[in-house]
Point group: C2
Chain length 283, copies 2
């Protein structure tokens, strides 16, 4: 059956699948200096933000992505005091990062200020920690920001970007990873969203190899459900400077001083053993 | 954007989402005594079977469901010799069950023989163990089969059914669970597909409560990605007669004599701690 025109559909032509959400109305549409942002009110997923026609997030299921982009990396680092989020303009990752009492400074560097300004309006719950005194919001190029950072300054760098096409392309290569490696402390951890384990195994392998060529000692890919992204199954890849990724602060994670809906110490521990699928070579 | 008519779409109106697969052609369409079965050749997901318009399985991603419906339950039981699969006409669960050397008899009881006959043609890899001397295929009513079974006969009963509407409705209630409880041995385990953790928390709770009222000592819900089912995130709920669900044969699972693509001993262990979301009350 064909869906009516009230549905927003994102086809993934390369993999012959599509995901749709039923919209009540379009709340906003804007061409920024970088991309086209649209906001919809859906019938069951709360608000939806798309960029250039690709789903970025919804109220209903963003907790999965934001929890898994932040907590595993922060509980893997022994003392995550200084955290940098590249991209992440919806502020959902920043909010999760700030839940960690060890964090003294959390900087978010998003190239497109409009993503954040629209999130403040349409996703206010994600932005509720933006006034935390430990938070800094910068609207500049993340690649340049990392290049300009002092060596060894950060404990964790989270690359919360769009897909490796368009403005985010420069965030998925060895040169950028090399700058991240330099900007991280000795036990530093880089974590980046790494697409679908079902669709993008080749990309995941390429990312991991580039991270290792850039000097990282170890990489680890965690997978998690993410209903609104292609295939409904997503991943984040961590890269560690000193190879500590399979151990983490398990006791701290088990006694975390905040609630989560998906992340748990047990789930984190399981993620330190990758699914067999990731060892397969695929196109 | 609207998709062209070459796409097969399954809307989930209640949750305002839809999933689509691009089809090359329809290979078969048939109204059986129970339901309408259609088989499509897709562009990227291999063959697709739908029943009454709902996606049942595809070549590409059925491994997730079939591995998670079988291996956790079989590695939780100390000696799974006699296994019953209710439904499961595509034979994918049966194939996974037969990988366990402990299994001496695996009976599949599917009400609609046409599901299996079409799977033999269009999903031959799932049916490749059907001639295993330990396998028995019966095409009768699963509810009656369990009612007629000798008390304590089975070690594991796997309810691999369609959604709790139509022919499968009678597989989701206390009366059926009571018969399963009776047909299982002292350490027996029942496992049933239990829909989406994002969409069907209320159903999951109702199932678990009905299982407990039927006499099961403990229940445990495992979640896993399943791209082609609504929300892309699915679950299986185990019910144990003697409360052994959080322990399992971890060493055997770690040294399993067969390959998997998703299941692992580590992933299994993590599943014994449920995700926080499942404790939430939702409509």
């Amino acid at each position: 059956m064909a869906l009516g025109e009230e549905w927003f559909t994102e086809p993934c032509e390369q993999h012959g699948s599509a995901f749709s959400l039923k919209a009540k109305k379009k709340l906003h549409e804007e061409q920024t200096a970088y991309q086209k942002i649209e906001i919809f009110e859906t019938t069951q997923y709360g608000n939806l933000m798309t960029i250039d026609g690709f789903v970025m997030l919804t109220d209903r299921d963003n907790f999965l992505y934001h929890e898994m982009m932040s907590h595993p990396a922060l509980y893997t680092h022994p003392a995550p005091n200084n955290v940098l989020v590249i991209g992440g303009g919806d502020c959902g990752t920043l909010k999760e990062v700030l839940k960690h009492p060890e964090v003294k400074l959390a900087q978010q560097v998003e190239i497109d200020e409009r993503v954040t300004r629209l999130s403040e309006i349409y996703f206010p719950s994600l932005c509720e920690s933006n006034n935390d005194p430990r938070a800094e919001l910068h609207f500049v190029d993340g690649i340049k920001w990392v290049k300009d950072a002092a060596a060894g300054h950060y404990d964790v760098i989270i690359v919360d970007s769009t897909d490796p096409i368009g403005p985010a392309e420069g965030l998925f290569n060895e040169a950028f990873y090399r700058e991240c490696h330099r900007a991280l402390g000795e036990q530093g951890i880089l974590v980046q969203q790494s697409e679908s384990p079902l669709y993008h195994i080749k990309l995941i392998h390429a990312m991991r190899e580039a991270m290792q060529r850039a000097g990282f000692a170890q990489t680890l890919t965690l997978d998690f459900p993410q209903p609104v992204y292609p295939s409904g199954w997503w991943s984040a890849t961590m890269a560690g400077k000193s190879g500590t990724l399979t151990g983490f602060r398990e006791n701290d994670a088990a006694q975390k001083p905040f609630a989560t809906r998906y992340y748990s110490s047990a789930r984190h521990k399981a993620s330190t053993v990758e699914i067999p699928l990731l060892a397969e070579e695929q196109d």
